[in-house]
């Protein structure tokens, strides 16, 4: 089977700040990483690959600086990686992003399983996976904590609020994988050297995908950002409590005493 993993690169959320004057995000000095949930999706794909001899292709729609992360995914064990990159794709909302990814998936060829992360750590919408599935006209199973292939069928555990479902389905299907549902492996050292020396990342642009400018990026978006606001966190008193453990416990007790229920 051929598994395609949709992977994006996100800034570490704790490092992101708004410029107080321009109200835009300060990107300088912020470290990027593979979107955490997508690392779990990739790990799920690699585990299926080991068991069932699948082929794993990673795709991402983003700027050229993502190249090193796409290669990192190959060093972790993916067979191939494709970066979908074009100035025209910039500023895409979830709809334009999904349309572009879906077109790229069609171009890549035959596929059986598409894996996404449950949500991205920057936008955090979780809407891209179901939108891709709709554009491809295939079923979806979102928020999956475990996936298996049983007799050629996909079997997934889907986790909801206070409930879970075991779902079976014929491929092709799209799954979104829960953040934290497995432990992503580290890149393989030897493979990494091979990637650095010999692996050629494929890059697809708007012409390769035969999409029109009105369909992608900001122009293809149907929701727009009017402004960014820093969420005003309540000012906290920031009082330090110190002393021996005994003393600390006494001081905490004084503060919480009025709230004790028993």
């Amino acid at each position: 089977m051929h598994i395609i993993v949709c992977m994006k690169v996100t800034p570490k959320p704790e490092q992101v700040k708004l410029d107080p004057v321009t109200k835009t995000i300060i990107r300088e000095g912020v470290e990027n990483e593979i979107n955490p949930a997508d690392k779990n999706a990739l790990e799920a794909a690699l585990q299926l690959k080991e068991k069932h001899n699948c082929k794993v292709t990673v795709i991402g729609m983003g700027p050229p600086i993502w190249e090193s992360f796409m290669k990192l995914a190959v060093a972790m064990g993916a067979d191939d990686a494709v970066l979908i990159s074009d100035k025209a794709f910039a500023g895409a909302d979830t709809l334009a992003t999904s349309r572009t990814l879906a077109e790229a998936i069609k171009k890549i060829g035959e596929y059986h399983i598409i894996l996404c992360g449950e949500e991205s750590s920057d936008a955090g919408t979780g809407h891209v996976p179901p939108s891709i599935a709709e554009f491809l006209n295939i079923p979806q199973i979102t928020f999956v904590s475990n996936v298996e292939i049983v007799d050629g069928k996909i079997r997934a555990k889907r986790v909801l609020e206070g409930a879970y479902e075991i779902i079976e389905c014929e491929p092709p299907v799209l799954l979104s994988i829960e953040y934290g549902s497995n432990t992503p492996r580290f890149p393989d050292f030897r493979r990494k050297r091979w990637v650095d020396k010999e692996f050629k990342l494929k890059i697809l642009n708007i012409k390769d995908l035969e999409l029109r400018e009105e369909e992608v990026g900001l122009k293809g978006s149907r929701s727009i950002v009017e402004e960014l606001r820093e969420m005003s966190l309540k000012e906290r008193a920031r009082q330090k409590i110190s002393g021996t453990e005994e003393e600390i416990a006494s001081q905490i007790l004084e503060i919480i005493r009025p709230y004790i229920k028993k």
């Binding site: 939108s131 928020f143 079976e168 934290g180 549902s181 727009i224 606001r229 008193a237 416990a249």
Partner: protein
């Protein structure tokens, strides 16, 4: 443009024969928006059997009208039939806005409809406003909740999913009247997937806790003492997501951007670093006390009282003192 598009719809997600609280919260918010835009509020319920009763409940919570789509295929939630049925209803009745609870199923559904009908969609919104001409402004949290993007849809119906636990649940008003109507959207397609098992389990609802003790990864080797502390205090017990992911605590008690939003009078937070994704679930706490061994941990600067110290040592002392009282 909004001329022919009228009314605010609320997708009333159901579990069995109950409308779930996150949907009722959305109804409450929709009512508030309607004060400004003078829109009619329409609740939409999908399912099979026993739905009229739910319609009445929705009216008492704030709907002016309820549309029911009834079909055996819709008995339990499934993406393809639900997305198709709602999309057809949206195309036929043209509401100006449709809001969905941002539950896992709500997001699964709204994302699919967005692509099906080519509509803009604002995600997980924590803030909503409407202009007098019916333009919905929707606050989408980003980067774990540290930043909010105020977004606008360019298409009609305008769509947004609304984060559970953010807006208050309105009071039931038994005197409210409205109509419950069945609508026909034609033959509904099959799911294309098969649910072989569906298990519901009881969960502790920490979202309304007045006081809460929270354990983080720093206390993973003895989560039990933190739980014990909560018990002795008569407080609720919560955790950070990694502890749930590891299976050390139940899934439905983690706090944060993808977990519960809590608004306690007091929170005692132990062994938690204070990541953005966690903090966004606890901003409503009146008072925060934290214990973290690392003086540089971000949680210190988001606390009213903070201790740099070892939770494994302080918690037992605290337990001793409470028991001694």
């Amino acid at each position: 443009m909004s001329g022919e598009f009228k009314g605010i719809w609320v997708y009333l997600e159901r579990r069995g024969d109950q409308i779930i609280d996150p949907s009722i919260e959305v109804l409450g918010k929709a009512r508030e928006l309607a004060e400004k835009s003078r829109d009619e509020i329409v609740g939409i319920i999908l399912g099979y059997r026993g739905l009229d009763k739910l319609g009445e409940v929705a009216i008492q919570y704030g709907s002016d009208k309820v549309y029911i789509i009834e079909d055996p295929v819709l008995e339990e939630y499934s993406t393809i039939p639900y997305a198709e049925a709602i999309s057809r209803a949206l195309t036929k009745y043209k509401p100006n806005i449709i809001l969905y609870p941002a539950t896992r199923n709500g997001r699964d559904l709204a994302g699919r409809i967005s692509a099906k009908l080519n509509l803009g969609l604002s995600a997980n919104t924590v803030w909503l406003d409407i202009s007098s001409d019916g333009v919905l402004l929707a606050g989408v949290p980003g980067f774990g909740g540290a930043i909010m993007a105020v977004t606008k849809c360019l298409t009609r119906p305008q769509m947004a999913t609304v984060r559970p636990g953010v807006f208050p649940k309105p009071q039931l008003d038994p005197s409210r009247r409205g109509s419950v109507e069945r609508i026909d959207v034609g033959k509904i397609p099959e799911p294309k997937i098969r649910v072989v098992e569906r298990t519901f389990y009881e969960v502790e609802d920490i979202s309304k806790a007045e006081a809460i003790v929270v354990a983080g990864v720093g206390l993973r080797d003895n989560v039990e003492i933190v739980k014990k502390l909560a018990e002795e205090l008569g407080w609720k017990f919560g955790a950070t997501r990694p502890l749930s992911d590891e299976g050390l605590v139940p899934r439905d008690i983690f706090i944060g951007a993808t977990g519960k939003v809590v608004k306690p009078k007091i929170a005692l937070i132990i062994g938690v670093s204070g990541a953005a994704h966690f903090i966004s679930g606890i901003t409503g706490a009146e008072k925060i006390i934290s214990i973290n061994i690392d003086p540089e941990a971000p949680i210190h600067s988001y606390s009213d009282y903070s201790v740099t110290g070892d939770g494994y040592k302080i918690v037992p002392k605290l337990l001793e003192k409470i028991r001694g009282e």
